[in-house]
């Protein structure tokens, strides 16, 4: 007979409330892992969707996502003519803040050349850019719909939403948007007329608006990425970064702090959970000291007593884990940012819960093993 389960059965309400409390804590831990995985997926979604094999960027920078990169627009033509390159497309990236219908909208805007690499991978509604100006494709997570007008730039030029994507956000969780490269360059590099006049009066060249942030390169089948990379790097004003390396930069520089932050938070939560589980198991054990003394008195071996406590701790932990997981599955789609549950993370959390339960039951086990069977004779 399993004494632990019998005790749980007899104290259903108390056990259920305790388990629910611990389950909430574990739910927060699972959400933390989900937020991290979601942020990682979001951060890598864009470079992966672009389908670049090489990113051509400004030398001694970590690419267009980890830090600013600025190169001449004609770079794309240079690259396209290189042996081994199948296609190349110039792109720009910037964050824009605007308001639609009185509601603030923040977008991560990519400028690309329609018909060349760099555009949205899959459009779920509407179509891609068909005009040279003032059209925009946005991710559905922005809340914008087809046909809506999005004011952008210093003069709030109206951009019409012609297409929608799904699940495309940047590492900060801002929805992606795509406009024609020319529009994006104007939005990013154009200077307002007063500043242009001031620059002319000072006899300085006005800032160029034809720069781009990067060139997306797709290679011909069988072409060596490292050879093309070395060829590009011969131009001293350019550097080529393989896709895997770019993802590594994103993970290392953009996501790492979030990982550390969430890791610290998870550590605190797991510590709190461990303390609570230990306290609960200790309290449950102290409530049963008389029963434990009786069991010892009538001849129960220590393994029966230890089994009672450890099994109860594990039952509590596993039940709380199941409750936490259920809560996360039911609520994860209501979080403002992507919560992505990974089997590997869930297994790790389960293992941690089991270890925490075993460690948490040590206090209870010590108290139980120390109980003198003669205490069963005490009256009251």
């Amino acid at each position: 007979m399993n004494l632990a389960l019998r005790d749980v059965r007899r104290n259903k309400l108390r056990f259920a409330l305790t388990t629910f409390g611990v389950g909430l804590l574990l739910a927060v831990v699972m959400v933390m892992t989900g937020i991290y995985e979601g942020a990682l997926t979001d951060a890598l979604a864009l470079p992966r969707a672009v389908g670049a094999e090489l990113w051509v960027v400004q030398p001694r920078t970590f690419g267009p996502f980890a830090e600013p990169s600025r190169i001449p627009r004609d770079t794309r033509d240079l690259i396209r003519r290189m042996p081994g390159v199948a296609a190349a497309g110039a792109v720009t990236f910037q964050t824009v803040q605007t308001a639609v219908g009185g509601k603030p909208v923040r977008l991560y805007l990519e400028g690309y050349e329609p018909g060349r690499p760099g555009g949205p991978a899959t459009i779920v509604a509407g179509h891609g850019l068909t005009e040279s100006h003032y059209q925009i494709v946005v991710d559905a997570s922005s809340g914008l719909g087809l046909g809506e007008s999005v004011p952008l730039g210093p003069y709030r030029d109206p951009y019409t939403v012609v297409g929608l994507t799904r699940g495309m956000v940047n590492s900060a969780g801002d929805p992606m948007a795509w406009v024609n490269l020319l529009d994006a360059q104007a939005l990013q590099f154009a200077v307002p007329p007063p500043l242009e006049r001031r620059e002319q009066a000072a006899k300085r060249n006005p800032p160029t608006t034809s720069d781009i942030n990067a060139v997306v390169v797709r290679l011909e089948p069988g072409a060596s990425a490292s050879t093309v990379e070395q060829d590009i790097s011969r131009w001293k004003h350019l550097a080529a970064v393989p896709e895997a390396q770019e993802e590594g930069y994103l993970t290392l520089f953009v996501i790492q702090k979030m990982q550390q932050q969430l890791g610290m938070f998870m550590g605190i939560l797991i510590t709190v959970s461990a303390v609570i589980i230990a306290l609960i198991i200790y309290t449950l054990t102290m409530d049963k000291l008389r029963s434990i003394a009786t069991l010892k008195f009538i001849g129960a071996p220590d393994r029966t007593i230890v089994g009672l406590i450890v099994q109860q701790a594990l039952t509590l932990g596993v039940a709380a884990y199941a409750i936490g997981l259920t809560l996360v599955i039911l609520t994860k789609n209501h979080f403002p940012r992507r919560v992505q549950l990974e089997l590997r993370d869930l297994v790790i959390v389960l293992v941690i819960v089991i270890v925490v339960c075993l460690a948490g039951s040590v206090l209870g086990v010590r108290a139980a093993v120390k109980v003198d069977p003669a205490e069963a004779l005490a009256s009251g």
Binding site: M1, L3, R6, D7, R9, R10, N11, R290, S291, T294, L295, K296, F297, I298, G299, A300, P301, T304, P373, A374, A376, L377, S379, G380
Partner: protein, 253 residues
């Protein structure tokens, strides 16, 4: 079952020169001093004495819960103590040979009546299904079979004490130790419990050792032993028809 008048001369409990002290030097307290006692199969002994006289300590020593400081002890034919414990499996010894009845029933609150008894059997190695069936049989024997699914908190004091007695009998003990088993009961139920213990002593050929203050049940014992300051100061044989000790005139002390 043995005939109620059958005398089994085999001693179940034999104590020779058993002493027990707590502390050393100025703080030394002699809880038991040079106790000699023999309890035979089917015999029911009452232990009385003022508070602090050593009754519970003696019960703990016989129950192998507390180690004596000196002396020699044999339980059911096995020498278990001779200046030190001779057996390492004292819990197993308690489980298989000794049944305990506590002042308060001490049933496990999270198990029902059948489970409380069957748990003791399962600890001794009886398969669970078989243990349950035998537990139900014991409950019927003690006339509380109708409460087999009740939890201790749902039973009256008398019912709980009967279930506790059934648990004490779970593994067919040769020795039954009871610590004030009638204390929480009214006089009618106290006599019912004493009837049960007397029946068990005869039916199971067990030696029954009962600590009690309850004068109303003194006449139910075969012998009444008085303790004072850890010493055995008096033994009174109860004269009544059917009394094992009186009829057999067995040497007792």
């Amino acid at each position: 079952m043995a005939d109620s008048l059958h005398i089994d001369p085999r001693p179940r409990v034999e104590l020779r020169g058993i002493s027990k002290h707590f502390g050393e030097g100025e703080t030394r307290v002699n809880a038991l001093a040079d106790i000699d006692l023999t309890v035979r199969a089917g015999e029911m002994i009452g232990l009385r004495g003022p508070s602090g006289s050593g009754k519970s300590t003696l019960l703990n020593v016989v129950g192998c819960v507390s180690e004596p400081s000196a002396g020699w002890m044999r339980l059911d034919g096995d020498v278990v103590y001779d200046s030190h414990w001779l057996r390492h499996d004292l819990r197993r010894l308690r489980l298989m040979k000794i049944g305990f009845i506590f002042q308060t029933h001490n049933l496990l609150p999270f198990l029902n009546a059948t489970e409380n008894i069957a748990e003791a059997m399962e600890l001794a190695g009886t398969p669970w299904r078989q243990a349950r069936a035998r537990a139900d049989g014991l409950l019927d024997y003690l006339e509380v079979g109708h409460r087999r699914y009740a939890y201790p908190g749902e039973m009256s004091g008398g019912e709980a004490q009967r279930v506790a007695i059934a648990r004490a009998l779970a593994n067919g003990p040769r020795i039954i130790l009871a610590d004030e088993p009638t204390a929480p009961l009214d006089s009618v139920r106290a006599h019912v419990v004493m009837d049960l213990l007397a029946r068990i002593a005869k039916d199971h050929e067990a030696a029954v050792l009962v600590v009690t203050h309850d004068e109303s049940i003194f006449q139910r014992f075969d012998r009444l032993i008085s303790l004072r300051d850890g010493r055995l100061v008096a033994t009174e044989e109860i004269k009544r028809p059917g009394n094992v000790s009186a009829q057999a005139a067995l040497p007792t002390l």
